[in-house]
Structures are given as structure tokens and as C-alpha cells.
């Protein structure tokens, strides 16, 4: 368990866009981090660099989840990225409690990665003008329980929230592809490269 978690723009933006695209369903996805390699345990921060939207239908069914996780691992291995956590937005607006699906998947991820994060999206705080990141991040304690981290340990640059808000206002969530979309139409890109490019452009613009 590490002390601090940072979320880069693609991670926070794509997660929230995915949730916004399907307001009537629960959604789930994976977050990626740079692989540490070589026992660099001196760094006490986890940096989540990207998010991969998975499902908005039947989150509790195993086969497609297995396919997705394997493909994600393979796809990002060469870029030095690993699966670092799982996010879920529950169907009910006020429900932020991880259900048995969230716990199971997060535990599976934690088997290979001690710092695995379980992120629950706080639906009530998702809005068009984000002041804070509407997420609750948990990690495994040494006793094997998921404990939610203090808000002060979660770092999201305010400019990323500004960019995400702009995208939500422009209804860009309708362009986000998840794995469910991909299974229905192979041309749907679940890595959402187009959105990453858009985020890069907006981030560069905001720095000018």
C-alpha cells in the first residue's frame, strides 16, 4: 500500500466520460500505470496514467472480462504499462459502495500488484463544472481489507478537471468507446487514441 495516488489527465477524463456516457447503467474499467521494474520501492506514489473503459452491460459476467484483461495486458506491455487498478460507477446515483464484482476484480489485480487501486466514481459529484475529482480510491491494507484513502492523498491537477468539464459540456462522452462497444463493432477503438490526442491538444493549449 502506497501513500499517494496521482491521476494523469487521460485516466481521470476517460473514466468520467465513460460514466457520463451511460447515466442509466453501471460502468467499469481499468486504470494503467507505468511499470516500476527492478524493485524501485523507494517511490511511495502510484501514478495512474490512463484508463481503459470496459463494460456498461453485465459487469458481473466473467468471459468477456477475461478476454479484455488479457488483451489489455498484451497491448500495453510493450509501452511499459501495467494494469494498476479497477474503476466502477454503480447504477444507483447515491451508491458508492464497491459490490462483489468490484472487490473480486480488484483483488485479482492486486495479486500481481500490491499497490492496486479500487476506484469508485461518486456519481452525485459528477457534474459539468468539476471542482474536485468525484472519486473514492481504495487500496489493500496489510490485513487484506480495502481501505479508502484520505482525499489529501489523491492528486488530480485542477487543469485536468477543467479539461474534463469542458469535454462533458461539449458531450464528448458520446465518442468514448468501451470494450462492450468493441465487441459489437470491431472498428470501435477501446484504447480511445482519438480522445488521448484531444486531451494532449487541450492540455498544451491550457499551458499557453
Amino acid at each position: 500500500m502506497s501513500s499517494d495516488i496521482t491521476l494523469e489527465c487521460p485516466a481521470i477524463a476517460k473514466m468520467l466520460l465513460h460514466a457520463a456516457r451511460y447515466p442509466q447503467s453501471a460502468v467499469s474499467g481499468i486504470v494503467l500505470a507505468q511499470s516500476r521494474g527492478g524493485g524501485d520501492d523507494s517511490l511511495n506514489t502510484v501514478q495512474l496514467v490512463d484508463a481503459i473503459p470496459l463494460f456498461h452491460l453485465h459487469l458481473s459476467l466473467a468471459p468477456m472480462l477475461e478476454i479484455a484483461l488479457t488483451q489489455i495486458e498484451q497491448r500495453f506491455k510493450s509501452q511499459g504499462l501495467i494494469i494498476a487498478g479497477y474503476y466502477q460507477a454503480n447504477e444507483h446515483i447515491r451508491d458508492t459502495v464497491p459490490d462483489f464484482v468490484a472487490l473480486k476484480v480488484a483483488e485479482k489485480i492486486a495479486e500481481n500488484n500490491n499497490d492496486a487501486c479500487l476506484i469508485m466514481i461518486d456519481n452525485k459529484r459528477l457534474c459539468l463544472s468539476l471542482q474536485t475529482a468525484p472519486i473514492i480510491v481504495s487500496q489493500l491494507t496489510s490485513e487484506g481489507k480495502w481501505k479508502s484513502k484520505d482525499k489529501s492523498s489523491i492528486h488530480v491537477d485542477p487543469s485536468y478537471l477543467e479539461i474534463t468539464s469542458q469535454l462533458l459540456q461539449r458531450k464528448v462522452q458520446h465518442d468514448v468507446c468501451d470494450f462492450d462497444n468493441h465487441l459489437d463493432d470491431l472498428t470501435c477503438d477501446w484504447t480511445n487514441l482519438q480522445i488521448n490526442k484531444l486531451l494532449d491538444t487541450l492540455a498544451a493549449a491550457s499551458q499557453d
Partner: protein, 301 residues
């Protein structure tokens, strides 16, 4: 009939205020007939265009206004939904159909107990009203009372046992609770009454696979197979077939003969999947095959 299909098209048109009210009317009609959910678009199309032409809609006006009420409540646009509800109420005073909409408005305002009273009142006047009984399930879901929603829906299905939508909803509620065997039972009912619908076979197979164990993997394999037969384009069925074959073949209880057959089926599924990806020029199919090679190696890890 011109059908505005893509969201971007609609937005582009609206941006230039180049909306043909007849196109909008036709699109809304198609969505009503298909019973599909496009709440945001319906609200925008009404608000930016069709409400200025409502007097031109004739009798269709009331169905459109009902559609707008439901869409408005879905998106928390009560400013759009309420005026339509008022005109509907003036046009059809005392109507049970309009009263149901009033109940839905209460649901949107999270006044769940009042909504429940409205629905109970309608049912007392009309016992055969199935959609209002289903609204009661929706209220329980809205309150987060999933166990009660399941109970209510189970009672409903005892009376209205051929309601496909009801069985699908019950399946999803059971899945949410992690009760895979009861969810599977719901899918069995659906397959019995819709024996040619590949998606029901796929979902049943996915549930069986999730339950695990050799018997369930074998069942999953058969049902994924049937789904792929009914619709060769069903990628979930092909992936599922590949996975369930791997599981069956690697089980210690699998006989040598069965293993041979299963591995042949597994290879066929993989071939079909690779072919689908290679036909799709935007996607790199070679990586997918790599993935599967690694799957079959690390499967029993």
C-alpha cells in the same frame, strides 16, 4: 422517411439551426416504434425544434408529448417535461395513462412513496395494467431496495409470465445480487420463448461460464456454439466458445476423445475470430492471436 441516425449529425444540424421539423417528427416516430432510449436527443429535438410546430402534428402530437415527458424525466429536464404533462392532462383529464406519467414525475423528484401510492391507485382501478406494475419495481430499484424489487418482479411474472422485458430485468437484478443460478433460470425462460434469438443463448452461456466447473463449461460451450450458429457475426459467442473450449480441454476430468473434439472446436473459433479481425482494416489482428496464445499457456496458472 429520413432518419437522423448519428448523434453528431443531429448536433451539427442543430448547431446550424437547419432542422427540418418533418425529419424530427419522423425520427421521434421511429424511436417510439422501436422503443429505444434516446432521451437527451428527444429533449433537444423537442426543445430546439418540434415544440414550435406542435400544432402541425395532428393526433400524433399527444404521443410525441408523452415521449417528451418521459425523455425529460429521464434527463432531469423537468422544465421540458412539465409543460407537456400539463397539456396532456388538459387534453385527457382523468386518464390513467397520464396518471402514470404523474407517478413517473414523482419518481424523478425522488418522492418514491407518493409515486407508489399513485401506482397502487391505478392498479386498483385497472388490475390488468402491466406497465404500472413494472413501475413499482422501478420505484424499488430507485430506492436501492433490490431484494424487494426482485420479490415484486417475481410476483409480477407469476401473473404476466410471457413478459420478455420482465424476465430480462429479473435476470439483471439477480446478476447484481450475484445469484447466478436464478439469473440462469431467467435466461432459460427467455430461450424457451425466443429459441432463435442468439443474444439470449450468449448471455446464458456467459452466466454458466461464470459459475464455473466442468459441467457448466460444457454447457457454456454448447450454448456459445448455438449462438454462433444462429449469428456467425456474434463476436462474444466466438470468444466465449474459445474460452469454454479451453476450460473443458484443460480439465483433468475430460476424456481424451472429448479433448480432441473440443480442441478442434477451439481452433475453429480462433480461426473465425482472427478472420473477423483481419477483415477489419482499422484493427491489428495479429496482436489478438498473440493474446490467445498467451491465454492458453497461462490458463491453468
Amino acid at each position: 422517411m429520413y432518419y437522423l441516425s448519428s448523434r453528431r449529425q443531429i448536433e451539427a444540424k442543430m448547431a446550424t439551426l437547419d432542422l427540418d421539423w418533418e425529419e424530427v417528427r419522423d425520427t421521434l416516430r421511429t424511436w417510439r416504434e422501436d422503443n429505444t432510449r434516446h432521451s437527451e436527443e428527444v429533449v433537444d429535438m423537442w426543445y430546439y425544434c418540434l415544440r414550435h410546430y406542435k400544432h402541425k402534428l395532428g393526433d400524433e402530437r399527444w404521443m410525441v408529448e408523452e415521449q417528451v415527458v418521459i425523455a425529460g424525466l429521464d434527463c432531469n429536464r423537468l422544465d421540458v417535461a412539465e409543460p407537456c404533462l400539463v397539456s396532456l392532462n388538459e387534453q385527457f383529464p382523468g386518464s390513467l395513462r397520464i396518471r402514470k406519467l404523474k407517478g413517473m414525475r414523482l419518481e424523478a423528484l425522488e418522492r418514491f412513496d407518493e409515486a407508489m401510492d399513485v401506482y397502487d391507485g391505478i392498479i386498483r382501478q385497472d388490475e390488468t395494467n402491466s406497465s404500472v406494475r413494472k413501475r413499482k419495481v422501478a420505484v424499488l430499484k430507485g430506492q436501492g431496495r433490490y431484494a424487494d424489487a426482485i420479490k415484486e418482479l417475481t410476483e409480477y411474472l407469476k401473473k404476466f409470465m410471457s413478459d420478455t422485458e420482465g424476465w430480462q430485468e429479473l435476470c439483471d437484478l439477480y446478476l447484481k445480487e450475484g445469484d447466478y443460478s436464478k439469473a440462469a433460470f431467467c435466461m432459460e425462460e427467455l430461450i424457451l420463448s425466443n429459441p432463435h434469438y442468439h443474444l439470449f443463448y450468449t448471455k446464458y452461456a456467459e452466466i454458466k461460464y461464470t459459475q464455473g466447473g466442468l459441467e457448466n463449461y460444457e454447457l457454456a460451450r454448447s450454448y456459445f456454439c448455438q449462438a454462433a450458429k444462429l449469428n456467425p457475426g456474434n463476436l462474444r459467442a466466438l470468444y466465449g466458445l474459445y474460452l469454454s473450449c479451453s476450460q473443458v480441454a484443460s480439465s483433468p476430468k475430460c476424456t481424451t476423445q472429448k479433448k480432441k473434439e473440443t480442441l478442434r472446436l477451439e481452433a475453429w473459433a480462433l480461426k473465425e475470430i482472427t478472420e473477423k479481425y483481419s477483415k477489419c482494416r482499422d484493427v491489428d489482428g495479429s496482436k489478438i492471436v498473440e493474446t490467445f496464445r498467451s491465454l492458453s499457456v497461462t490458463d491453468k496458472a
